[in-house]
Assembly symmetry: C2
Homo-oligomer: 266 residues x 2
Amino acid sequence: MSHWISLNGSLVPDDDARISPYDRGFTLADGVFETMRAHGTEILWLESHIQRLQQGAKILGIHLWGDEIVLSSIVELLGRAEYERSAVRLTVTRGPSRQRGLWPPGEPVVPTVMVTASELPAMVPQRLVIARSTRRNQHSPLSRIKSLAYGDNLLARREALERDATDALMLNGYGNIACTTIGNIFFKLDERWTTPPLGDGVLPGLARDRLISLLNAVEYSLAEVLLPEVTAAFISNSLGCAPVTHIEGRQLKGDVDESNLLAIFA
Amino acid sequence: MSHWISLNGSLVPDDDARISPYDRGFTLADGVFETMRAHGTEILWLESHIQRLQQGAKILGIHLWGDEIVLSSIVELLGRAEYERSAVRLTVTRGPSRQRGLWPPGEPVVPTVMVTASELPAMVPQRLVIARSTRRNQHSPLSRIKSLAYGDNLLARREALERDATDALMLNGYGNIACTTIGNIFFKLDERWTTPPLGDGVLPGLARDRLISLLNAVEYSLAEVLLPEVTAAFISNSLGCAPVTHIEGRQLKGDVDESNLLAIFA
């Protein structure tokens, strides 16, 4: 069965949709994306997502005027998909360029804008391990935007599954915990909710922002050695939240009031 | 004018070549590539390139049996292109998967193999600066393979051009110099050629290997503070070598015997 996707503002069956072999998103991960939660045809936090996407694009030097992202085509896509709740991915790359080499990309390059939708995945309780295969690069601005360069997260995720966990915590170069491969992390320490600061190589998650406010959480750099002090934890991203039940095999006894957290997605 | 490219073993005009919007190379930088030098239809160090590509693919968990890379189609491509000397890019991604999320990718996923060729670019004498916008992640195995996740190199390269340099030296998290955005770096210190060790977040360049042997060079971690001790330098990659004339505005007085270095590409 063919699905519809939105490509450069037009709805097309995915079997017909063509990305150029010269697209710099394909050849060099030269692009950004957002993953958004939708209820019917309504996208949650849409304005904040577009803003974050534009900030990421700016860091890569991709100039977006705003009219490249055709909201009506996203709404049309969601209308056809007919999911009650969905995960919408908006991808923007610098676009196709025949010119080889890193930079400059050659002119004119027109950004590629792609939108796909799928049914909202369930977020299961998390058994986490600490990734040993790679680390988060807190020196890189890419650690604070949703760049297409997702290789380290892929490595850590694969390691987690091989170690019979649901996901991995990623350390940064300092040995502080930054995030999981798919979202931000919150830790309860001394009855207080904390989350790693952006400077530790952390994506400024939209759910993260809202949960900091909701829980009156503090930004706190957590070194790996302090993990035994953690009494409860949960992960968050723009699609949802899920409690962490285990870290490196240790069961967390503290409760996470999930329904309270999920209120931000209402 | 349309060019030919090789896609999954077949020669196709680039205007007709289609990458799936679900290709994980496009959505997640889930792939590797090689850049190779060719004289006519003959590719230099072909066996070593294929070997390095397979090692990179293995690190990403992409299983290549070898027959995905159809050498006859590369030779045919080079025959049609008719360049005397060319730069050949071989890209391998995990392939298209409709399933969202990082991992597992869903089954079966068939790798995408793309080959493009362009005229061999001239390598000009280099005026280098030290990238301040980002750093190399020596903790990541991706720093030692040619992953598609090229975002940090793009950032550093763009910074270099904005600062009126030809390219940037990339520091790693320790503050040691790792490489430039397009190749390895060699430094002359106390009349001895040195190059950063792989553990500093360095790609095991094929030219690098051969130049270490040629020059009897030693692997040496160079902290940024030691740069004033450097009397000469050059960069290398699989396409060629070029002397470094300036680092952060300081002119290097030492000579680089370029014709000696270029002998490895003969």
